[in-house]
């Protein structure tokens, strides 16, 4: 393994799996939120207390990034599945696009979230 020179596409392949696993575990949060909404005000307040806390916000921010990155990285794989983007410069461009795009989308979503939710 040590003889491989690490490339961006190799590293991002691992990140795609890692974000996928994080999203897998994170569906527990989605289920918790929906069950709380169905259970009543007290249960829902617990979820809001968690997502409103510093730790909760950090987790939600990380989850947003994992979702956005995994989606863009997945679209990249989809382009490859269709048989395009295999040239060296195209591979690099797609990979950088997923990396930068994931961060940009995450920040954009949180700016909108604060703009909308901040006043409530």
């Amino acid at each position: 393994m040590q003889i491989y020179r690490w490339t961006l596409t190799m590293a991002l392949s691992i990140v795609h799996r890692a974000t996928g696993i994080a999203l897998y575990v994170g569906t527990l949060l989605l289920a918790w939120w929906l069950i709380a909404a169905a259970s009543g005000p007290a249960a829902y307040a617990h979820v809001q207390a968690f997502t409103g806390s510093i730790i909760g916000r950090l987790i939600m921010f990380g989850y947003t990034w994992a979702l956005m990155h995994h989606m863009l990285s997945g679209i990249r794989h989809f382009v490859w599945d269709l048989g395009y983007g295999f040239k060296a410069n195209e591979r690099e461009a797609l990979t950088w696009g997923a990396l930068i795009g994931g961060i940009v989308l995450t920040v954009l979503i949180w700016i909108v979230a604060y703009a909308i939710g901040g006043g409530r």
Partner: protein, 134 residues
């Protein structure tokens, strides 16, 4: 393989030849479903983000009203089904790649199925309860 089955003479398509093959004898169906659910989630991503934005900072009564409304409930149900299916397949690929002990692998695949189905059913049940008020 008889001479008629060799790729050169065969009239079967490449997809037709691999159907029902592979370790699970289900051919490329998981590969296809992984892409199908991925595309579904990309299409659902904006509506789901809009729903979550609508509910930021709102109380349970409002969340119940929005999540229980027909269009939102359908969007959420589709998203839950697509994500549970997608993550079940994805995790199975990871398990098959990294766990080489046969017994541990089977147990892991079984737990993966249990987890994915449990999360999906719990979420679906919550949405149905929010929609019908039972």
């Amino acid at each position: 393989m008889s001479a008629a089955d060799t790729p050169k003479r065969s009239m079967r398509t490449p997809l037709g030849r691999v159907r029902n093959l592979g370790a699970a004898h289900s051919g490329t169906s998981d590969f296809w479903r992984q892409r199908l659910t991925a595309v579904a989630m990309v299409l659902l991503m904006i509506p789901v983000i809009v729903v979550i934005m609508m509910l930021l900072g709102r109380n349970q009564a409002y969340a119940k009203q929005i999540l229980g409304s027909l269009p939102v409930a359908i969007i959420m149900l589709l998203f839950i089904i697509a994500s549970a299916w997608h993550m079940k397949i994805g995790m199975q690929v990871v398990i098959e790649d990294y766990i080489h002990n046969e017994k541990l692998k089977l147990v892991s695949i079984m737990l993966n199925n249990f987890f994915s189905i449990a999360v999906a059913l719990a979420s679906i049940y919550a949405i149905l309860q929010l929609s019908s008020g039972v």
